[in-house]
Symmetry: D2
Subunit: 131 residues, 4 copies
Amino acid sequence: MATFTYSTRIYYEDTDAAGVVYYANYLKFMERARTEAMHQLGFSQLKLANEGFVFVVSSCQIKYLAPAKLDDRITVNTTIKSMSATSIIFMQNISTTKDIVSGEIKVVCVDAESFKPRKIPTHIKEALQCQ
Amino acid sequence: MATFTYSTRIYYEDTDAAGVVYYANYLKFMERARTEAMHQLGFSQLKLANEGFVFVVSSCQIKYLAPAKLDDRITVNTTIKSMSATSIIFMQNISTTKDIVSGEIKVVCVDAESFKPRKIPTHIKEALQCQ
Amino acid sequence: MATFTYSTRIYYEDTDAAGVVYYANYLKFMERARTEAMHQLGFSQLKLANEGFVFVVSSCQIKYLAPAKLDDRITVNTTIKSMSATSIIFMQNISTTKDIVSGEIKVVCVDAESFKPRKIPTHIKEALQCQ
Amino acid sequence: MATFTYSTRIYYEDTDAAGVVYYANYLKFMERARTEAMHQLGFSQLKLANEGFVFVVSSCQIKYLAPAKLDDRITVNTTIKSMSATSIIFMQNISTTKDIVSGEIKVVCVDAESFKPRKIPTHIKEALQCQ
């Protein structure tokens, strides 16, 4: 997958009383970006769930470099670092005119009922690799 | 149901850049209070969902009287105003040393799959009325 | 103001274990829509806050008509119902292919420090009325 | 600081359409736990902010081991791994009857206006070390 770009404005809901984006909320922006990247490749979270599997985050390493503020427009750049049979590691960077947050997020394909790891379906893997 | 009391502290996650609790978040506190009230009567949301029904909010009227702030300790008082075969109207009041928010929330019992209204199970209704 | 339209996809963050959008989160979509409407007229929340005033919600009446679900694309239509010296009443409707939520939200202009009501600045009122 | 324990129930607001706690929300529980630990030592976030400094998260490493679900009661155990002149590294573990999430969170003391690092005030450092 080439770099996928998602962009949004910062609203009151995203901020906290320190006047900046609350630290957990950057993970929401990152998930929206991964979801939009999947959509661009033709895969929806709902369709995947209905087919019996869900992608869940198994680990993340986040570096907070500078705070985003109310009304800022942020861009989330997403690339794939590596893939295994059951997992994908995404590199995600959030920026305004400067770098705000960088993260490495490992996502595992699991069964929608048991939450046990299962192989990423071939057509998804191929779609991700062709990018 | 007599007045049920739920209390919590205001954390950074609850506030926004205006320095006060974000207006949608009071609805979270109200739902926690309703959930704890149900637990006190012996009913868990999960058990209800597993039995095939869910309580969903069908309408709410909220008045914001004064803002709660970081580190405030709020109390949510919850009473039942009325019940019908399929719905319950709750009166909920959030306060610190003064009144913060008051709300009237109508909750409907629906089928967990179709989300169509269904009768509130008798044992729940009785438990609520005995209070 | 003519009808202002804001649109977004429903992400995992917006949903809950009942499989639908959590009831408080519709208020976030409504606030984003009001914020974007203000931006379209040339006003940013941040600039307003820096000028010493904030628009806060003083009451809302929300009707939940049908649930929105993961991956749904929702549209929030926003119009102004009426204005007074210090407040604005918005009518907001959220829909997919059907109506999901309708709300009447009263917003009051307050001093950013004291949170006491103050007159809506003339240039904002005029911009809103010209629409 | 000895191990500090914070506990809460999982509510609908915490979960998503996959039926489990949304991955960003565990960071909220962790922050509540750190806040309560500070309160137990006599420090409030608000008082600190009023004194001109804020503790902000500069990095986190999170491992998601198993999902927490609606109605689960979770416990967040918090210990201090190390401290420098301007930062604290917390180890935080979330569990039900089994381990759910483990995290290492680095928090930096910054000026409330400029968000530039500044020394942790001596009385706070001493209070944390005496534990």
